[in-house]
Symmetry: C2
Subunit: 481 residues, 2 copies
Amino acid sequence: MARLLRAATWGLFPWRGYCSQKAKGELCRDFVEALKAVVGGSHVSTATVVREQHGRDESVHRCEPPDAVVWPQNVEQVSRLAALCYRQGVPIIPFGTGTGLEGGVCAVQGGVCINLTHMDRILELNLEDFSVVVEPGVTRKALNLHLRDSGLWFPVDPGADASLCGMAATGASGTNGPSTAPSRDNVLNLEVVLPDQAAATGGLGFWKSAAGYNLTGLFVGSEGTLGLITATTLRLHPVPEAIVAATCAFPSVQAAVDSTVHILQAAVPVARIEFLDEVMMDACNRYSKLNCSVAPTLFLEFHGSQQALEEQLQRTEEIVQQNGASDFSWAKAAEERSQLWTARHNAWYAALAMRPGCKGYSTDVCVPISRLPEILVQTKEDLNASGLTGSIVGHVGDGNFHCILLVNPDDAEELGRVKAFAEQLGRRALALHGTCTGEHGIGLGKRQLLREEVGAVGVETMRQLKAVLDPQGLMNPGKVL
Amino acid sequence: MARLLRAATWGLFPWRGYCSQKAKGELCRDFVEALKAVVGGSHVSTATVVREQHGRDESVHRCEPPDAVVWPQNVEQVSRLAALCYRQGVPIIPFGTGTGLEGGVCAVQGGVCINLTHMDRILELNLEDFSVVVEPGVTRKALNLHLRDSGLWFPVDPGADASLCGMAATGASGTNGPSTAPSRDNVLNLEVVLPDQAAATGGLGFWKSAAGYNLTGLFVGSEGTLGLITATTLRLHPVPEAIVAATCAFPSVQAAVDSTVHILQAAVPVARIEFLDEVMMDACNRYSKLNCSVAPTLFLEFHGSQQALEEQLQRTEEIVQQNGASDFSWAKAAEERSQLWTARHNAWYAALAMRPGCKGYSTDVCVPISRLPEILVQTKEDLNASGLTGSIVGHVGDGNFHCILLVNPDDAEELGRVKAFAEQLGRRALALHGTCTGEHGIGLGKRQLLREEVGAVGVETMRQLKAVLDPQGLMNPGKVL
């Protein structure tokens, strides 16, 4: 059960309403002073360079700087900041590592960016309970570093060293295979500051609950539009005794996807299973100094005991060979493995390197795995037709893939073609009972697709639910809805 | 993304408002005729015996019969029934198999019980996608029978042969171990009829989505208080190549729980791990003709390849023996296994048999596993102090256990002691950062504990969310909130 905290009803402002402004613009000095009074002068900035750093993520969405950036040190300050902004009608944009891909941090209506990275304590580690409670500044890598030698780890891995609360806020998942659930299933609990809501306190830390409505689930993936996540309880997993990675090249996309389905049907507990098309494989070869064959390829990883792994490897090898795999190679040594997955994580940069000076936009559709081959083949045809440069990586185990499109952000015409391509791909996914976003979220760019996916009234229902928690609509406005 | 359907705005009633009644009482003939006009005369009953069959579940909560029972044959009829009731202010109580344990089907304000068991089609089976779409009348066993020889199954097993949509509605889980997630994580999608809401349609069937707020998650565990679930898409799992079960007796509760933690920490993918205290073990020996030692006991089950199982068994045996287990025995043959789990599933009846003529009430607290020994020991002391007859079974892998209390329903004083004991146990769980219900839900009896667990304003937030979907408060009134 999520723990909801009231935004502190904090002393009256002599200038109540005076500073109130929904439109983008400068904040009056009094308001900035009030922010400083909450977090201390050194933790507030209105400098252009700082605001611009906080107005963009890693996507092509144009930078929309907030009017001010504040760094709260604790949940009580977050609560007071939220109350202050809410009372004055100032938009609130939560900010973590800024590694999002859908413009989720763009301050489209200006307002105050609340950078939560100074709250970076690991509040509670319960090894026996396989759980940890972390503040929003704690990143995935920082947590796993802290867990080193504990025998447990947090395996969800979106590539970027994102903050764990940010991953919860976007429902991120990544290269973890179907055997490792995405963030959604590993977020046991949340602490959330609601801007205009009294407090509901709940325990943090148990695995399973059927007590009332699943508020935690409502906040996971809400992209900062419902409240500020100030702590999360995560489920930890035992570190596998042994890990082996593998790559294999296939004659076709179909063969790669068929292998995936057969591996899952054989109940081989594959930990990661990633698809790279030949364009992406070529880019990774160049960027990360690999020499895999330039073909549709699977990167796989297996976790388990030495003995269990031997069996998994053998079964997988049989399956992929039945599907015509070639250049099959295992990476058993840690450094080989890490080279492989570093290459996979750098796929984004490898893609960007294909056209220096360009920015990237990543699509994020997800379809039932049985529909993957047709949509992948169709997507590659659309790519050729569009004249765009694009490469494909996919979390093929769950039907989710990304087409990374390269674009010159100063070329409006090309940007237009990229957006048109992405929308067309989203619609293809919807037609196949898929979704326009498997893990990146809706953010700024997919609001029309969300409407098509859940229907106008589905969006209206979401609006009404948001209105319960954020009646003034000041939490990360312009996103999702 | 849940698919939300409008309750049909169905022809005007000449007697609009005439039949309107929020208090419990007889429905006017016109209204009953209108129900018959929707589903056909043979699918509506106002007979006392039928209404009483639908006014109770398997709990001690007293029978509260609805005013009428209807059996819709399809979602369009459900939608028209909901619209009809809503228009007339008549409470709506969804009914599946009636195997709930918290009085969730009691018609505390009268109204119409919508029995969904005639909608029992398997709408779509996608083996390659590991998913199936079922109507609300399909039960767990019926689905697995249908899946026989498909290589896939639905492993979530609460014991009773509950309907799958009912399991979604209560967030049921059961004896599936931590390696198999509860209903919550296996419900990929829902189709829901909202009584007073226009439609949001979404695709049914993909695994993963980050598109907008998680409406599916909001309905899972909502206990029929938000809408009528008319279909669910479930994630299927490969049938294991081999299954082995085991029992072992321990010198203490602590030793049994320690073994569980060590097994999980060793990443042994245990499929089921159930705790029975010596009282329950004794009852099961008598009722199910087992001859296990009368001691704190674990029932375990392992799934995997023959080779993987050998290793799992060996590791587990080492761990439990380090924790002082005795009478360790494997059940590799199917019939031995099924005898064991039949006994576990019959634990409820075994407990009832300890005091013929009594009814049972099952508590359902869940705590972080590290706190299990202290709460189990304390609970047994409280049992002795209370003079009540009670036995304990637990899904020890996730900190959830049930104390099955026997009570003579005609003995108000004893009933009072049972309720007091259950409340005290719930509060102990909350004090240990646990929850008052791991899988049975809030229903009628735990509303006060829910208030204590999530706080008065948490409940208020839930109320406001409910008001968005059920503004008249006619969906299963008096439950959860």
